[in-house]
């Protein structure tokens, strides 16, 4: 049984109607009117600009070696893992982390690139392997050495899927789903490393990381169902095989991604869902021949 679910539920049941009011206030979303962007090519993994170096006074992470070591630590990279790591100070010109993008864009960050990496997860069946060679871009706050995000690049030669929603769209959608918000970045490093979190995702059924064309990971303070903020990994697997057969009229893009929440302290899998959905006005890529729902 999911300890975390029970915890969330306890929080959610006590206050009664004010919570519903809160939910609904948060959910005044123009349902489809805001969706108008068509399917686009995947954006570059990181839209970066050379950082304006204003000195590294007060930075906890001063050197490339320190940045690489910190990225290794946060991800939990084994010594036998990928060896092609590089680091530079950069500035993210654009970021779509829901609720937190203002804390990420337009400031110097460490960008650590990890190339030629294939995931090796113990919880995967022995004869299954990562389907894609990964290049991970890891962004670290230089002032405290904490993770801002880790994103694998879309594999070369693989057709794109509908892009991730904009931060604005995600911020509209997430409160409708479990009253969810990201309220900040944790002030300590996760006890559960990213690779451990991916093991938990593989084990618990929130999608298969080996099949994800792209992995987007944030370590954030999250509120859920009106509960207190908690430090969690939010790991989105993008470009996975549809988690359900699309019914007629349902786009594959509604079902080819899933975001997992893993407790950063305890490693408990807290659930997974398709929220936020992409923004698209593109014609649905429906599966021909898929059968519809039963009629009464």
């Amino acid at each position: 049984m999911t300890h975390s679910r029970r915890k969330a539920v306890k929080w959610s049941r006590t206050p009664g109607m004010w919570r519903i009011t809160l939910a609904t206030l948060l959910c005044t979303v123009p349902a489809r009117g805001v969706f108008g962007q068509g399917r686009t090519e995947q954006p570059p993994a990181a839209q970066t600009q050379p950082a304006k170096e204003t000195g590294r006074q007060g930075w906890e992470i001063q050197t490339e070696q320190q940045a690489i070591a910190k990225a290794r630590e946060i991800i939990g990279l084994p010594d036998t893992g990928p060896s092609k790591l590089s680091a530079e100070v950069t500035t993210l010109a654009e970021d779509n982390t829901p609720f937190l993008h203002d804390q990420v864009t337009g400031r110097p960050v460490w960008h650590i690139a990890i190339a030629d990496w294939k995931l090796e997860l113990k919880s995967a069946p022995a004869d299954e392997h990562d389907q894609y060679p990964r290049v991970f871009d890891v962004f670290i706050d230089p002032t405290n050495g904490l993770l801002l995000k880790a994103v694998s690049r879309w594999p070369e030669g693989v057709p794109p899927i509908a892009p991730e929603p904009s931060a604005r769209s995600a911020e509209e959608q997430m409160p409708r789903s479990g009253l969810e918000k990201y309220v900040g970045f944790p002030d300590v490093a996760p006890r559960v490393r990213l690779l451990q979190a991916l093991e938990i995702v593989m084990k618990k059924g929130g999608g298969n990381p080996y099949l994800a064309k792209q992995i987007v990971a944030h370590y954030v303070m999250q509120t859920w169902m009106g509960g207190k903020p908690r430090a969690v990994w939010a790991i989105t697997l993008r470009g996975i095989p549809p988690i359900e057969p699309p019914d007629p009229g349902v786009s594959v893009d509604a079902l080819n991604h899933i975001r997992n929440i893993v407790d950063g302290e305890t490693g408990k899998w807290l659930g997974a869902g398709t929220c936020p959905q992409p923004e698209t006005g593109a014609p649905p890529a429906t599966a021909e021949g898929a059968e519809g729902r039963t009629q009464p």
Binding site: M1, T2, R5, R6, V9, S12, R13, I20, A23, T24, L26, C27, V29, P30, A31, R32, P125, E128, Q131, G157, R176, S177, G178, L179, M202, K204, G205, N208, Y210, L211, M225, I240, P241, P242, I243, E244, P245, G249, S251, D253, A254, L255, I258, G271, A272, G273, T274, C275, Q277, T280, P283, P284, A285, T286, E291, G292, R293, T294, Q295, P296
Partner: protein, 307 residues
């Protein structure tokens, strides 16, 4: 230049019986274009698009699956590879097509509740198949309009396997459809319900804002809100066993049926009342394959007759 896909595919499909005759018993990864662990008609569908002829180059990296003589590094997919594909052809153990055994009743429904027993199942092709498969049991509310179901809400448990992996998981889930749009769908998964009997309830708690509340064993675990549910009610409430493929085992077997008990529903945001299950409200897509029997006005059993 490659021939147009459709005519070529049609011609090649005419060869399927020959390919089947030539198929070997052993599964091989070569020929498995879609990576689902078998070499079947789904893979063959891509053959025409991958055919290079003797002088071409592979149009897509996955097409290397058809280059059976790759060891000779010829980098082509041609008729010389076709016979090898035939030998590799194993067929899929999964025949896609959702199937149902359920109770459906009409009402201006705003909630649905049932106790559902967790039954262990075997999905098609276990333990080696990597085809998409699932077997679920749920209670929910659906609004049918003009023969379409554009909005619904349901909660229950699902055994599920995604394409490309042999791993099977058991999860509780809440799912909401909130309009006819291609992305108007929300699926939220929780942890395994565990064995035994568990309570599942969904109810529309706000007509004004369109908020659904989902409970598991009496505890609220998820909300979902959308304008599409503002001022709406369902037209039906349902208690359903569902599978994705004909060979997926539906929950329950003859000796250990899956019982839905204490079934209730709510109308117009009111309190819950007994489901009033009648014999004519039960349905099965094929009575020879999947059984359903009413046991009381609030309970029924389902089971797979050919697990």
């Amino acid at each position: 230049m490659r021939s147009p896909i459709a005519p070529m595919t049609a011609r090649l499909f005419a060869l399927v019986p020959l390919l089947l005759l030539a198929s070997s018993a052993a599964a091989q990864s070569a020929g498995d274009y879609d990576g689902d662990g078998d070499v079947d008609g789904d893979d063959f569908w891509y053959w025409a698009a991958c055919m290079t002829g003797p002088a071409g180059s592979l149009p897509d990296p996955n097409c290397a699956a058809f280059d059976f003589d790759l060891s000779r590094a010829d980098g082509k997919v041609d008729l010389a590879d076709l016979a090898a594909f035939g030998r590799a052809f194993t067929g899929s153990p999964c025949t896609f097509g959702k199937k149902y055994a359920n109770v459906t009743k009409s009402a201006s429904a705003t909630g649905c509740y049932a106790k559902i027993r967790t039954r262990w199942v075997t999905l098609c092709g276990e333990p080696t198949s990597k085809a998409l498969a699932a077997s679920a049991a749920w209670a929910g509310v659906t609004k049918f309009e003009g023969g379409r179901a554009d909005i619904w809400a349901q909660t229950g448990y699902t055994w599920n396997r995604v394409s490309g992996s042999t791993t099977v998981n058991l999860n509780t889930y809440a799912e909401t459809k909130y309009g006819p749009g291609p992305l108007d769908r929300d699926l939220h998964k929780g942890d395994s319900p565990g064995s035994g009997v568990h309570e599942y309830r969904c109810r529309l708690i706000s007509s004004l804002f369109g908020t659904w509340e989902f409970e598991f064993d009496g505890l609220v675990w998820y909300y979902f809100t959308h304008d599409a549910w503002k001022g709406q009610t369902g037209t039906h409430y349902q208690y359903t066993a569902e599978i994705f493929n004909k060979e997926d085992q539906m929950v329950g077997v003859q000796a250990q049926k899956c019982d839905f008990t204490q079934c209730q529903y709510a109308t117009n945001w009111g309190s819950f009342q007994d489901a009033d299950i009648t014999a004519d409200s039960t349905h099965t897509d094929d009575p020879n394959e999947w059984g359903i029997e009413r046991t009381s006005p609030t309970s029924f059993n389902v089971w797979d007759k050919k697990p």
